[in-house]
Symmetry: C2
Subunit: 211 residues, 2 copies
């Protein structure tokens, strides 16, 4: 499950299924693990191979094991969730078979991947409430508005501007970089702070997913 965030929507990276019976359907990225490969490493390998990116958030979600879930025989799938900056990925050359889909818009998928996706999405919604993972979906520097849009998209709810800001500042993860974004069209509003002042993650205070 490779998630990205673009145009204020949560996206997921999919590939066209290469199996005849799932022709035209989309499937999650995956691969078989080598005999001597730890699954964390295998998932990371696939991630890097497919996206060309490194240093990406990745965490195990759950194992799916229904018999018959793969037409070719018995296959267990250990699902991993990854969050990356979609812009950074798009800058590299995009594999032709890969496509970013909106999470909300997907109707049908190959195998039991719809079920896996829905489970992982619910998992992510919960996870993001407990750990500051959202940063991984944004560029290094971002505005509060971008961050709030991200949370609203993932959780599929509206958040209060003031409470959101209060919450994040109280956690003390954000550093005000003092920079402003200038080369995007200005929105209404007095000081542009919310929209254009850039923040970044305070890495001294946040050293991992557990806090």
């Amino acid at each position: 499950m490779i998630f990205g965030f673009d145009e204020n929507e949560l996206k997921i990276l999919l590939i066209r299924s290469d199996l005849e019976i799932f022709k035209g359907q989309w499937s999650l990225l995956g691969d078989f693990a080598a005999d001597n490969e730890e699954l964390d490493g295998a998932a990371y390998r696939v991630l890097c191979e497919r996206t060309g990116m490194t240093d990406v958030y990745l965490e195990q979600v759950r194992t799916f094991s229904k018999p018959g879930r793969h037409p070719g025989g018995r296959v267990l799938t250990v699902a991993y969730c990854s969050l990356l900056n979609i812009e950074q990925h798009k800058l590299g050359k995009m594999d032709n078979e890969l496509h970013w889909h909106t999470v909300k818009g997907i109707r049908e998928m190959a195998f039991d991947h719809k079920e896996i996706m829905e489970f992982s999405y619910t998992w992510l919604q919960k996870r993001i409430m407990e750990h500051p993972l959202g940063f991984n979906l944004l560029p290094e520097k971002f505005s509060l508005r971008e961050l709030q849009n991200l949370y609203e998209a993932i959780l599929d709810i509206k958040l209060d501007r003031r409470n959101f800001r209060k919450k994040f500042f109280s956690m003390d993860f954000l550093i005000d970089t003092g920079e402003y974004e200038d080369d995007v069209p200005h929105r209404p509003g007095r000081l542009y702070q919310f929209n254009f002042e850039k923040y970044e993650l305070n890495k001294r205070r946040w050293t991992g997913i557990d806090f």
Copy 2:
């Protein structure tokens, strides 16, 4: 990971390792899944075979996959967590090779089972804060004191009597059965309510682990 609760301590059911190199060490209960078996079902099968019990809480925790974690070759372990009423289990004839250990007292285990146990224990501590799972470790009818002792043992903290009671009553999961326990030595205290009045789970209100 088969957890039980006895003598105010969290216990876990272990078996002596049958491998020479782990001689004398304890290991978690497990088995290989059959070719056409869903892992949920396989875990449940092992659970029933070993304990003779049915209708037991069981949930997937995580998959462990380090190469070399099993001397006989590549083995992936999908850990499941089960909570059962230890009294009920003890009433059946106890397999000679099985033994209930205190979770806190275990020093060494076969394979990487110590790591799996610690991960699952942490998982359980978190899980039990979010879902009312504790009931599964107690007999059908139990006192508030038993329930509090259980939470204190699992979380390894002291809880306030009044706040604990308030919390559980506000959740509205408990039914006062009107019964009292008489055949155990009375403890000090005025009305015995906390210690001896029996409650049971309100199954109308609690239909699963998600609430």
